[in-house]
């Protein structure tokens, strides 16, 4: 191969490369993609890892010191809505176990064109989804369903732990079970039910190939806003407590979840 041939080949290759680059910029067809969601948990900004459970003392808005033993929660119906109002959703669900590190990464079973979307999801199940039967959830976390006499359906969250009772001498640990479900009043016939799941709007996100979206749960917010949670009064037997379920739902819908880092 002489130099002139080599030069011609080089020029031809560079031209191809140039043309190819031009095509990427000008005529690129939007792909259909599935973003990945990463669920993280923190206490007023301090990350919660496995090592924190049962160990790290946390202080809630009411001033009680507590430790967490368990934090498992259900999200559903991740929805992407574009500027034209067109929505995409797989209608599926994900169970996150923060301590065991299960379900921390989740990709909904849906393909959407690359673009800018308003991203939202539901904490728990709405009544329509809550009426269905899920073999996976019946088998997960030792059984995620709720007995019929407590309203049926599924748990939305099981947060459990211990708080320090400073009113005893000496101070003592008291177990708490912050379990959220659809509110049910079994004292009425038929049982009064109220949907306590809630929508979380994460705002606008640009989604393209390999986009990951972090969703942060600030666990402290469950005890904070708008209802300052008093564990001395509301620490146990909350599932059949209709009013407590409404209070928990209100707190959950106000700042527990937020959009974290979005990466491409």
């Amino acid at each position: 191969m002489n130099i002139s041939v080599l030069t011609r080949v080089s020029i031809f290759s560079l031209s191809l490369l140039f043309l190819s680059a031009c095509q990427d910029d000008d005529d690129r067809v939007a792909q259909e993609v599935t973003p990945e969601f990463i669920w993280t948990q923190n206490w007023d900004g301090a990350p919660l890892a496995n090592a924190d459970f049962d160990v790290t003392p946390l202080t809630n808005a009411n001033g009680e010191t507590l430790t967490l033993s368990k934090l498992v929660y259900l999200i559903s119906d991740i929805t992407f809505t574009n500027a034209q109002g067109e929505s995409f959703s797989a209608g599926d669900y994900n169970l996150v176990d923060a301590r065991e590190g299960l379900g921390l990464s989740f990709s909904p079973d849906v393909l959407i064109p690359e673009g800018i979307y308003t991203v939202a999801f539901r904490f728990g199940f709405d009544d329509e989804d809550n009426a269905l039967d899920y073999a996976f959830l019946n088998s997960a976390d030792g059984g995620w369903n709720v007995p019929a006499m407590l309203g049926g359906g599924y748990h939305f969250m099981r947060m459990e732990g211990k708080y320090i009772n400073t009113q005893t001498i000496p101070e003592s640990e008291v177990n708490f079970q912050y379990h959220t479900i659809r509110a049910a009043d079994p004292s009425t016939t038929p049982v009064t039910l109220q949907d306590t799941s809630f929508l979380v709007n994460l705002g606008q996100v640009t989604i393209d190939e390999n986009t990951t979206i972090e969703v942060k749960m600030n666990v402290a917010e469950w005890f904070k806003n708008p209802n300052t949670w008093n564990l001395y009064e509301l620490y146990t037997m909350l599932m059949p407590n209709f009013d407590a379920q409404l209070l928990m739902s209100q707190n959950g819908a106000n700042g527990v979840f937020s959009l974290g880092t979005v990466t491409d």
């Binding site: 019946n138 030792g142 059984g143 369903n145 007995p147 006499m149 005893t168 003592s172 177990n175």
Partner: protein, 353 residues
Amino acid sequence: MKKCLVIGVVLTALWSCQSDDAPAYTATPMPLDIPAFFASSILPPVIPRDNPQSVEGVALGKKLFYDPILSANGTQACADCHLPSNSFTDNRQYSIGSEGDVGTRNSMPLFNIAWNFEQRFFWDGAEATLENQIFEPVVNPTEMNNTWRNVTESLDASPIYPELFSAAFGTTKIDSVGVSKAIAQFLRTLISSNAKFDRHLTDQVPLTPEEQRGLAIFLDESRGDCFHCHGNPNTPLWTDNRFHNNGLDEFFTDRGLGAVTGDPRDDGLFKTPSLRNLAFTAPYMHDGRFNTLEEVIDHYSEGLVYSETISPLMKNVATGGVHLSPEEKSDLKAFLLSLSDQSFIENPAFQNN
């Protein structure tokens, strides 16, 4: 290039010949007879891909389960501590080994273990698969006190086992893996699904008023709240197959799961047993400390003891529990006994026949 082509053709031909001459052995498939309620409400059973259920495998597993040949002195079979009449446990606080040694834990009942989705076996979760669980008792000095080398030599020398292994696995080579696979296949067939409460769910039989009240207590967060660990009528297992400290002791002589994981947060945690077949499985708890169901209910009602790792699900620990009335205790016991399955312990397919 030509050489490569020739070698490729020869290798392909050899591979083809091998495929034709030595097809993989397949025993007669024997899918588990999955009860309708199990199939509709929970995930499928856990069956390893490398150990499918077969007629010959289950037959071999059953033979091994009842044969004292697995113990060093030839006196003890699996079934000596796992009797069908006791829902495959025994009625001792601690089981006694082949040499007369006394163990430290209560023998676990065996049923519906194909649905152990957590795949942690023993009271302390020490083994990660059912097949692995079978290795340990054979060599445990306080149980069968044998060696796997001795076991395989004994089985090899037997007039029947080489043929049974051949039928089950297509090989006369006997090893510990084959033994554990066969016994695991048999154990997965031990399905209990015909208690009175199961028949109640299909409207075949009504619950008594006592049993109905007992169920309400079981599901009531302010009284029994048993369901968070033991399940509810929506599913058939009556256990979460997880590990909890249920407030038995202030200090631990047996660390349970903590000794396995090395994590002090797991100290005093033991596996939740199923509430099925309680009529046959006394004594109760990992150490068999309670002889009667009354004692068990009394424990949860008044006897809870605080320790650092106690489960947050235990209620009113400071006062020992939720303090059920005598009537409530009696009703709860009546409901619990409705989960016992007489036909399971009498099933001819599970007996030594």
